[in-house]
């Protein structure tokens, strides 16, 4: 595993941290947002934040698909799962996300047929193997995951499977970034961009961040040294007064992404007029539903859903965490009423959620720091 070890070499990490320190202007604090929950996880797992100088603060963005799903959609998924004839297949992380009354895990304990799958294709395999059951795939994820769902739906269509459908909750990265960047109280100086979303959409898809909002963005890989190097590249841009989209993850990410994936998405999905994001509210054209050509495989048309909009619990501050307005440990229920075992908010559910990452890797030392 030489390849991986090179990206985790502590000496190289310290050298990068020293370079970042050399780029800091004394007394000038820089806030960089890591958009993707995968990066949040890497930052706390490898204590990258502790390598950074005090003047560089990492702010966690809205790029964890589990964390941004609103309660009403969880309730809809549970309503589908409660039907006698249905097998609801979902990724493991969805199981503990709280709905207004219960989670999918609790629905399963109460008798619903909810099964964890690793891929949409696994859900399709259940439909093939159990033709007497209605199999519904609870699709979540950004552009990284949406092509996988699209290919599975194309496969279901080609096979003429009638007992398979998709409850689509795929979301897009650009609209929430624009929503954040348009916020008048935004205090973000630059971005560490989501490397695997960029694998699909391409590094150029982020050009608007630099061109329209005048913030540097560095598309980053997921090894610790990738993230450190991306921070260094963003800090160098700030020090030199540049504002560009750079691609640190060029070994994987092409400027135009994966055209076949984009074509599959365009065939199977279409944008929703609006979609609710936890903490960010309704954002126009920020999510996908099945296109007209695939309407018969759309679980929202096949089953009647409550479709209710459910307000977050008042004590939950996930919205402020997702916008980077507060740190996880500043939330009034962090680590007390809200823990990974019994989460109130979504940010504590997924291991990529900012709160769970703090709770699992850094809670004790960081809670004592001043806000």
């Amino acid at each position: 595993m030489r390849y991986v070890e090179e990206f985790r070499d502590p000496e190289l990490g310290r050298a990068l941290a020293a370079r970042i320190l050399s780029l800091v202007e004394p007394g000038r604090r820089r806030k960089l947002m890591e958009v993707c929950g995968g990066h949040t996880h890497v930052i706390y797992r490898y204590a990258i934040d502790e390598l950074l100088p005090d003047e560089v603060e990492m702010v966690h963005g809205p790029g964890c698909p589990v964390c941004v799903i609103p309660m009403g959609r969880v309730d809809d998924g549970i309503a589908i799962a409660a039907r006698e004839e249905v097998v609801l297949a979902c990724f493991g992380d969805m199981m503990r996300v709280p709905g207004s009354e219960r989670s999918l895990q609790e629905a399963k304990a109460a008798g619903a047929d909810v099964r964890v799958v690793y891929s949409p294709l696994d859900a399709l395999r259940i439909a093939r193997a159990e033709p007497e059951r209605e199999v519904v795939f609870f699709a979540i994820g950004f552009e990284t995951t949406a092509p996988s769902t699209a290919l599975t739906l194309k496969r279901a269509r080609a096979e003429g499977l009638t007992n398979f459908s998709c409850f689509c909750n795929h979301v897009l990265i650009e609209p929430p970034l624009r929503a954040l960047l348009s916020s008048p109280d935004l205090e973000i100086d630059g971005f560490v961009g989501p490397g695997h979303v960029a694998t699909i959409v391409g590094a150029r898809a982020f050009d608007f961040v630099a061109a329209e909002y005048r913030r540097p963005l560095v598309v980053s890989g997921f090894e610790p040294l990738d993230v450190l190097q991306s921070v260094e590249m963003a800090m160098l841009q700030l020090a030199e007064g540049r504002c560009e989209v750079e691609n640190q993850y060029g070994r994987v990410v092409a400027p135009d992404g994966n055209p076949a994936a984009l074509a599959a998405m365009a065939e199977v999905f279409e944008p929703r007029e609006t979609f609710e994001w936890r903490g960010l509210g309704e954002i126009e054209r920020s999510a996908l539903r099945l296109s007209g050509a695939y309407a018969d495989l759309d679980a929202e048309r096949r089953f009647e859903l409550p479709g209710a909009r459910v307000a977050d619990p008042v004590e939950c501050q996930c919205g402020e965490v997702l916008k980077g307005a507060i740190k996880p440990w500043e939330c009034r229920v962090f680590g007390t009423a809200c823990t990974p075992e019994r989460a109130i908010g979504t940010c504590m559910v997924s291991p990529e959620g900012a709160c769970a990452a703090y709770y699992n890797y850094g809670r004790l030392s960081r809670q004592e720091q001043p806000a």
Partner: protein, 77 residues
């Protein structure tokens, strides 16, 4: 749980986002069109959707996310 051999055993990271993308090597054609058998460095195999990168050749390294290969990887240095 019907998770494949590369589902994260520790539950430590989330499979819905990027950091669960895995480098796997193509070892044989799959049982259906558009699929290929791929293996990790320890030899654990799974069937992967490769339509986005087709055609893929035995021996190529792919980045796999949620059962789908989303990018080609270069050779290990």
């Amino acid at each position: 749980m019907s998770a494949g051999p590369h589902a994260d055993p520790s539950g430590d990271v989330c499979i819905t986002c990027g950091d669960r993308a895995l480098p796997l090597r193509v070892v044989a054609p799959g049982a259906e069109p558009g699929l290929a058998r791929c293996a990790d460095p320890e030899g654990r195999e799974e069937e992967v959707e490769v339509a986005l990168l087709a055609p893929v050749a035995v021996g190529e390294r792919l980045l796999v996310h949620a059962g789908t290969a989303i990018a080609r990887l270069g050779e290990e240095r």
